[in-house]
Point group: C2
Chain length 215, copies 2
């Protein structure tokens, strides 16, 4: 192990060859198209044109494959840092609206919904290993972006809150409400997606009414 072979890696330090990344890509496609039931080892091998033996060699077992899929997908989503420019009221609102719209777009994405369904289905069994992983890689990441934005707003005197976590929770709730759950339950997201822009603006307005520093 850890030999001199210069294996081209797929992600950032993910330890995966690009061949393995391509396999995970196909696995994700299968999962999105047909749900967990369609994600069989034979199906992945056929779709990715690799052998089952290689799958087990690379990922250990089926659970290892699922974990690798989550980690792989998360490695593709890079949270863009907050530009440390000077914030005024308008630019803060614009940043918040952009964040809210991105959040809705991410949550409504095919792959995100499929992976969340997968982890939720696996949650009761096996100590919710996948759930932890998804939460760590997904929510924490986007939470950091929001936290930085909120902190910048407070430093600029535009936001007033005691607990950043609580403020973020309020923002998240106002933006997402129960839409995420409804999409997870099967509500067609295409009909809802058109309202994302307006919804994000209204939610941010409400958030600013609660935590805006004017008072």
């Amino acid at each position: 192990m850890r030999g001199v072979e210069a294996t081209k890696e797929a992600g950032a330090g993910s330890g995966l060859t690009e061949r393995q990344g391509a396999v995970l890509e196909q696995a994700l496609r299968l999962l999105v198209d047909g749900g967990e039931k369609a994600l069989t080892t034979a199906g992945v091998a056929r779709a990715a044109s690799c052998s089952k033996e290689s799958l087990y060699k690379w990922f250990g077992d089926r659970d290892g494959l699922l974990s690798a899929m989550i980690a792989f997908q998360a490695s593709k989503v890079r949270t863009l840092g907050v530009s440390a420019e000077a914030l005024d009221e308008a630019s803060l609102r614009a940043h918040l609206v952009a964040f809210a719209k991105d959040l809705l777009d991410v949550l409504a994405g095919d792959v995100s919904l499929a992976l969340n369904r997968l982890a939720i289905g696996q949650a009761s069994r096996e100590g919710s290993k996948l759930g932890r992983l998804l939460e760590e890689r997904g929510r924490r990441q986007i939470g950091r972006r929001a936290g930085a934005l909120l902190e910048a707003g407070r430093k600029a005197g535009l936001l007033a809150f005691g607990d950043a976590e609580e403020a973020y929770g309020a923002l998240y709730g106002l933006v997402v409400s129960d839409w995420h759950l409804r999409m997870l339950l099967g509500d067609d997201p295409s009909g809802l997606k058109k309202n994302f822009g307006r919804r994000a603006e209204r939610a941010v307005d409400a958030f600013l009414a609660l935590y805006g520093g004017k008072a």
Copy 2:
């Protein structure tokens, strides 16, 4: 069919004998304990001391059993009507806090979490039939209670909102935020349950700050 036998029914017009209700009860218990994977026809038959043949006679097939489980559980939860008493600011807040706490308790319940996981896992496949059912029986029901409460508040001049659905969405989001998803993913609810009271109060305060009629 439709004979004169006076079959004792289990639910309110559910068309189920109490024997069948007892079977569904055992099935729900199996689902809560072990997740969908543990919910096998043989397991249900063994746990409920009935034959597989009876299961198929009563519920058709496995999907029919799942649908019956959701309908059965929903039939047990009766939404209590809003007392049409005169509301003042304090009693409205108390009602909202009670509603918020009930909402959190329901969502954190074992059976609710298990059924939501089941429906979500089944969502990608089969046109999300269970998801629709769960949404219809669950969300709509509790949404009606909230709607009535909000409408009463508006009639009393204590709340100001244009779209009741939007106001309810804000209340729901402020109360629940991403806790439901986290519990579905496997976060231990027992640790979170202790904060439900405080959380409900803070959420209602924020909601009143947004939609309170004082302004």
